[in-house]
Symmetry: C2
Amino acid sequence: MRVGGSMGDGYDSIPAAAVARLPIYRRVLLELLSTRVTTVSSTRLATLAGVNAAKVRKDLSYLGSFGIRGVGYNVEHLLYEVSRELGLTHDWPVLIAGLGNLGSALANYGGFVERGFPVRALVDTDPAKVGGELAGVPIRHLDELEAIVAESRIAIGIVATPAPVAQDVADRLVAAGIGSILNFAPVVVTTAPGVRLRNVDLAVELQVLSFYQRRHVPAGAADLLEPSAVSGPVSRPAG
Amino acid sequence: MRVGGSMGDGYDSIPAAAVARLPIYRRVLLELLSTRVTTVSSTRLATLAGVNAAKVRKDLSYLGSFGIRGVGYNVEHLLYEVSRELGLTHDWPVLIAGLGNLGSALANYGGFVERGFPVRALVDTDPAKVGGELAGVPIRHLDELEAIVAESRIAIGIVATPAPVAQDVADRLVAAGIGSILNFAPVVVTTAPGVRLRNVDLAVELQVLSFYQRRHVPAGAADLLEPSAVSGPVSRPAG
DNA sequence: CTCTGTGAATGTATTCACAGCT
DNA sequence: AGCTGTGAATACATTCACAGAG
């Protein structure tokens, strides 16, 4: 994936790769807590998270020394520490900009609110949509952004617009004072340094799978691309 | 991120981190092609992809030497080479298992078919859904998996079920002969070696953003978690 | 004896910087 | 001159392996 370097502020002492795994550990810990398990070893946590035990111990050691040698980690305490490190001791209200197929889907998807990211505002520019609502949240016009961000204390903006307007919308979100942007539009957007930004492409993972499976072509599938006549003239020796 | 190691087959000479970026380059190249640009330098490609030029050149060098010194890369030819390397010279029909909020959303999302992953089959176990259709694709019962996989030449199975049944469904997909699985259920699933598998959590990126923004708490947000009474008893020195 | 926490070792990824082609 | 392709250098991440706490 696609984890960048140190994301701007020079504060992070925790490696980016470890940060990216904390949410997985947190999910496992929540599951363990709900099944009344009170203690967990690095080995068990590793199995449930799909990584190896040394990695779990190293990752958790960046947060402090919360385990007990010979015993393991207290599930509830570790969950608290991981949540605190991730900033998930409180909710982060999000706004979704762009309510096409993907935006609507994300607005209805319960997984965000479940993990502490309630969808508090929806904006679009389509007059047919503005004034309506989705998942119980009113749809307002993109132009009202500043007011919405202020009144709803929005922390993170999710961009789910068509590619051609994604950069524009991201710029407006930043101008409205939003400090973090998650971009799902099929284009890379950029922001001024200081704004936390992630570009996510839902189809990337499929394409990666396709790479690793490419030697097993499904029989009978038609080719879409051929080495075209135009690519021939590129002057270089064959091979 | 969340890229694993070498994904099983010992063939890959291309680093996993580079593979994960090829889809981004491909997207940029498609955009350039549609705007009639015929040549692109590593610097320009890097800007559009949101990475640096040295990385672009190194990544592309794993595919071969397709650039022209002093000039740049031929857009159409490079697009072909990248597509070929990713296995995207033909479509990869996918099946979606589980049609709750997320599964339905993915079925309606046009981004998959646009990038060569047509949704050819939908399965669920809910009698109220089976027999109906979504985005023009009939919904069938999970039990018909083997037949569906064979008749529709399914290459990749997408799991979007509730967490408790995700592992079961993944096992059935593998038993039905599917070689790649993309799991969106909020739980880590595992498979026998040889099956290509990616576990994706849509909320992970939000949690990572929350980590990097956690020192800027939205004013007035209520705390959800407190150091609980239970976490106290963990015996270790403070600090 | 069990299991954590962590230095040291190893393995990957990124970046530099420049030779060499156009 | 401009730009690629790539060894060498650096930075980052993972894994090993074991001392030390319980």
